[in-house]
Symmetry: C2
Subunit: 434 residues, 2 copies
């Protein structure tokens, strides 16, 4: 049988990785897919550079429209990144009846609903395993492996850059700035690290996971996003003492009145597998009512791990493109007409335990006064550490039971006004994985 013909948009790290994996493992892949998968056309900005990677026999253009309009191309792989030209090219490829494989989490988090609807109308597939957690087949688990379940929550370490930074901060007692600079030196963080360290990249991925978990439209704008730049070594140390480790988590959870959708640093129990996920690795825990908790772990970025996911999608499309479109796996796990527009809860409506740290004057009655203030706002304390500091001060660390974020915010505001309180209150949410 003739090989499946693929057009590749973009030949950067992941694009080149995809090219290499498809070539190196061509035989294994054909044994699995039943036919070969061949890149016949590449669109890039720098044609000469691309030529040096893919050799003399490839069609190379700097005009991606040529690829998405080429009648011989059956699958377009979008690895250009960005949400403007990529958006146009993906929609045009769909319009031309081509299946699309993309690693572009930002594009799908922002325009997924429109893109998936266009694909459904044309009866083509848009596959995006590489968009979340790199090489880990988490999309497949969510859309196909766990279909028996009412999913209760998904909690993941889905950004390798921040996990590397937090690991280095913890094990080597570096400041955030030091660890970031080290991550940049090793290529784990970009020159402008904002998208990673401020949690935006994780929120793109979480938005997609939430849709597949709960059968809701993609709604990135509803996500709460907080990065790791405020975390201090002190918090790492105190968390450890309380039996926790600090990780940047994506958390989405079904509640009575809506869906929690939030990215922020959080304390996770030290004995959980998530706490042991170190360096640039990713892991996602999914809790379903039948299966309980399952965890998926692996490399969340990098040329070949991400290419592994891209090529898996190519094999999927190759295997299944003859299936009746009505019976294919729905893009967001649920049939389009079965999506339910459940509300995303505002962050002050979430309920979770909290870690609080503050400096106070070391004088009698301080702890009593603070405890009374917390109780006033319906916040009960699970455990507390008090340590004297220099200059007649004391450091207080509280771990609370489940509390409403709005209550915590009011309590913090009140506590910060107390005369013996010397610092602002450091507040980190706790994820108990329950």
């Amino acid at each position: 049988m003739e090989a499946m013909k693929v057009g590749l948009l973009g030949l950067g790290v992941v694009g080149a990785g995809t090219w290499h994996v498809l070539n190196r493992n061509a035989q294994e892949i054909a044994r699995r897919a039943g036919r070969g998968i061949e890149v016949t056309h590449v669109a890039v900005r720098d044609v000469a550079k691309a030529r040096s990677i893919v050799g003399p026999n490839m069609l190379i253009t700097d005009r991606p429209e040529e690829v998405v309009c080429d009648p011989t191309i059956e699958i377009v792989v979008e690895l250009m990144g960005g949400v403007t030209l990529a958006y146009d090219m993906v929609l045009k490829a769909i319009e031309n009846g081509k299946h699309v494989v993309t690693a572009n989490k930002a594009l799908l988090a922002l325009h997924g609903t429109e893109i998936f609807e266009a694909a459904s109308r044309k009866g083509v597939m848009v596959a995006f395993e590489a968009a979340v957690a790199g090489g880990i087949p988490i999309i497949k688990a969510m859309r196909e492996g766990l279909t028996a379940n009412r999913i209760e929550w998904v909690v993941g370490i889905i950004n390798g850059t921040t996990n590397y930074i937090l690991s280095e901060m913890r094990t080597r007692h570096l400041s955030f700035a030091q660890a970031l600079s080290q991550a940049q030196g090793l290529g784990y963080a970009e020159a402008d690290p904002t998208g990673d360290v401020e949690g935006i990249d994780a929120a793109h991925k979480l938005t997609l996971l939430a849709s597949m978990a709960f059968g809701i439209p993609v709604q990135f704008t509803g996500a709460y996003i907080e990065g790791i730049s405020a975390i201090e070594d002190e918090d790492m140390v105190q968390a450890e003492r309380l039996g926790y480790r600090i990780k940047l988590l994506g958390i989405t959870r079904r509640r009575d009145h809506g869906i929690e959708l939030r990215v922020h640093p959080a304390l996770v129990p030290i004995e959980s597998l998530l706490a042991s996920v170190e360096g640039p690795m990713n892991a996602v825990v999914v809790s379903g009512d039948a299966v309980g908790q399952t965890l998926y772990y692996g490399q969340g970025a990098g040329a070949e791990p991400t290419a592994s996911a891209v090529v898996a999608d190519l094999v999927d499309v190759t295997r299944l493109h003859t299936a009746d479109p009505e019976h294919r796996v729905p893009h967001l796990a649920f049939k389009t007409n079965a999506l339910i527009d459940t509300a995303i809860l505002p962050i002050d409506q979430i309920v979770t335990p909290y870690y609080l740290r503050l400096n106070v004057d070391d004088q009698p009655g301080v702890l009593a006064d603070i405890s009374r203030e917390l109780a006033h706002f319906r916040i009960s304390i699970e455990s507390m550490i008090q340590k004297p500091t220099e200059l007649g001060g004391a450091k207080l660390i509280f771990l609370t039971h489940q509390a409403l974020e709005a209550d915590i915010n009011e309590a913090i505001e009140a506590i910060e006004k107390m005369p013996f309180v010397r610092s602002s209150v450091m507040r980190i949410r706790v994820e108990a994985l329950q």
Copy 2:
């Protein structure tokens, strides 16, 4: 659209779990599958007991042939267990053009080649996610999620009973017999625990994983199988001191001259995630050339976790039964005509590091003599612990570098003949996850 009609053979723990999950989550499942999935016919030995579970409106029979021959049934779910009647019924269901979903690892490990060939001839699917690692979608990961990769090895904790026993032995310093009896009390082990504790159940599962990893026919008879009944508390303690934990592992690895396929207790590095998999949980690590290592973790047994996998298969079949059979996911990940009959290596041809423990007379020169004997058989020592024991003896523990099992066996035979050696040599393989 009318519901997919399912016939259920067996209504034990997993059968009842499947029934409950299908009913409780009927709405979520239909939102994903695009149509309902309905059990219309059940075959059991005890009709009255079944009636009390599934209610008055179900067709119940004690003759499974009725179900597999019923013209209205589209999918037969085989949860009877055993390899005789189940074998007949699965083949008859296939013969009658029905898709089959089964959790029967023994049946597939022993008769998979024949069953998959029959299914391919009839153009029906045989899905078996529940046969390996319960609710963890590891079959899906192997057959679909990692198709880009040349798989190098698969290492898994794929029997919950033995993992529970080893966890209890380690954390509570129980003997094997004590921990087994406790596992039986809690329902984690059966009255006759042989299949679990001697590694046979794990070997059935490993046989299937190996086929999907390397594209080889199922060949259970080639598997090396060793259980955990010989492990002593002493070994748990010494392993921990050396930086390892003892787990019953299924290991399959591609080598130059064949495939390693073996189930036995092994030391795994304490900092690996596998070492942290405790109690009755399962986890599988897959190493691929592009993706690197990925890990899949969850409950490997129990009514609803296993039902989760059965129902996921039902959704898969419902989604994909209209696909051209030629283009469906192949049963063993690779197209039938692309399977390669690579040899399974005999156990004495495997290469791995070893843990050795023995008692000797505490006298000068003993260590030198033993080291010389090991070196004679090309075995080099990575680390060693020597401890005096009562009665003028000493305990020696060695960790070796990679060695050929045949060499280790010869060295042990020679060492056990040395006049100052007081015990037989305890030998446990090490799995470095590399």
